[in-house]
Symmetry: C2
Subunit: 306 residues, 2 copies
DNA sequence: CTGAAAGCGCTTACAG
DNA sequence: CTGAAAGCGCTTACAG
């Protein structure tokens, strides 16, 4: 049975059927260095898994700013892809505007700041950040600083808002001197921490584990002990977060799952099975380890009781 | 001029022209955890850059073992892609066999262990590993251990061979007790180091920076100082290698460039501009920092001279 | 229910 | 050199 070796011609099939079973994935590289953060590999793995299961393929575009126009051309190029996933929403994103106005099926990973009718998959960045900071406040810390992510990214703005929410909830007002901006690299966390140290914070919420790595390095160099001199809570729960010194208390978010769900949501959209909700908010969880001092605080309480 | 908004139909063009201007990229996931190593993101960035410059697009397949058959089907599916880049050569790779036997244009990142006529881009893993280990031996270390990568990967076998070469070059014989195998994760480096410690090595060559991270952690926990008690040389020169404690002496390899060159080589192959050589070996460089003790050794010599 | 035919939207070889 | 026509290899609506 030589027929077993037959491979249909994908281009012909795409032309005739009007669909290619290819999903596009666009990663804005306005922030190219970000790509080495383990976030994107895990997201891609989730998307790829869904594609494997549903017999789709993935087209990858790293949208470098200097080629943005070309990337958009390719995405909106008819009959190349059936739809597109856009990861990591920038507050001003030409790619989103292009696919939105041309009515190309697409799903965001991260909520859109303006168009509320866009389908997206996300975590509740604001609420989870609020809870993380409240955790610190409840432990009794008074001067809680934060290192935010690049503020042109929607999710990072939300985390910063969550930080402010938490302060407000405890009747505190946020102090601009306690807020530094990083760009998600280890190096930027290092610099931001050095910048904050003179303000003598007794705790800090850092918007990513990778930046926390840099912050821990800065603290070590400055001779500060974590959590005794300053408590740290981070975000992501990357694999390495359990192995820093001390291990990081951090907000776990299901990145792999976000990719998977985004891909399935897009497939439904393409096939007009509009069962999936417009927004999918995935659960997060504050993973408590050593860096926040909660264990130490619990110990103290025990000693006090005796 | 409304004609400016015209977008040619990619499927129709592909059918008519017999080429799609799409390159496939296959990352074997027999080693899925590997994907979080910064290696692949940087490789993808290089490939993506070349595609942007030459007006190609990239199709990404993470070839999970359970979907290997399907992935192969997609790759060899006519008129989907013009050619394929296969990253990270496993010693037994069904994907490579499939594209090889079907005469689909392809380029490997990493040399092939059997078919020497296959085009590839690589570094000289063996020679660079040899030089790294010779560096340690020249500094006077006597018991040089190694943590190898997964031995089903060709490049990692080559690095192990380089380790043995160096020992031989100094009239030493390799001791199986001084060789441990990791899987490129931080965790595996940690465990491999713990396993090697009872053998009392005074230096170690580790096949990746990520594993070195784990090894440094194991050494710290065991109370060993680097490089005083044990010297460390790693491989990759990832961004974080300059910021470990102590900073890593490590072999720098141009990953981004490897991706870029692989993509351009494939484009030439597709267009039958057979100008590019069959094999491209990119240069490596031993970057000397604190972990090997070379600086300390130099200092000592200075003191002795006085 | 089955099967031959039209048509998807391009590229390219070829007639003029 | 220019332009109309054939053909790429499928899917699908439609005639039988």
């Amino acid at each position: 049975m030589q027929i077993l070796n037959y491979q249909p011609n994908a281009a012909a099939r795409g032309l005739a059927a009007g669909r290619t079973r290819i999903l596009g994935l666009v990663i804005p590289m306005g922030v190219a260095y970000l790509f080495s953060d383990p976030y994107f590999p895990r997201l891609i793995q989730g998307i790829s898994r869904a594609c494997n299961q549903h017999d789709y393929s993935t087209m990858l575009w790293l949208a470098e700013p200097e080629y943005e126009h070309r990337t958009i051309q390719q995405i909106v190029s008819a009959a190349m892809i059936d739809g597109v996933i856009i990861a990591s929403v920038l507050t001003d994103d030409a790619v989103i505007e292009a696919v939105y106005s041309r009515r190309i099926p697409f799903v965001l990973v991260g909520r859109h700041p303006v168009h509320s009718d866009i389908k997206y998959v996300d975590v509740d960045n604001r609420l989870s950040a609020r809870d993380a900071v409240l955790h610190l406040l409840r432990l009794g810390y008074k001067r809680v600083a934060t290192i935010a992510g690049p503020l042109n990214m929607v999710g990072r703005l939300d985390r910063l808002a969550g930080y402010t929410d938490a302060l407000k909830a405890r009747g505190l007002v946020s102090d601009a001197n306690l807020i530094a901006e990083g760009d998600f690299t280890e190096e930027s966390g290092y610099r931001a921490m050095q910048q904050l140290l003179p303000q003598a914070p007794d705790a800090i919420f850092i918007a990513s584990d990778t930046m926390a790595l840099g912050a821990l390095r800065a603290l070590r160099e400055a001779g500060k002990r974590v959590p005794d001199d300053i408590a740290v809570v981070a975000y992501d729960d990357m694999p390495f977060a359990a192995r820093t010194e001390p291990p990081l208390t951090t907000v776990r978010q299901p990145i792999h799952r976000a990719g998977f769900v985004a891909a399935e949501t897009l497939m439904d959209l393409i096939n007009e099975r509009d069962g999936k909700p417009r927004r999918v908010i995935l659960p997060t969880k504050l993973v408590i380890r050593e860096s926040c001092g909660a264990h130490r605080a619990a110990e103290k309480r025990m000693h006090t009781r005796r």
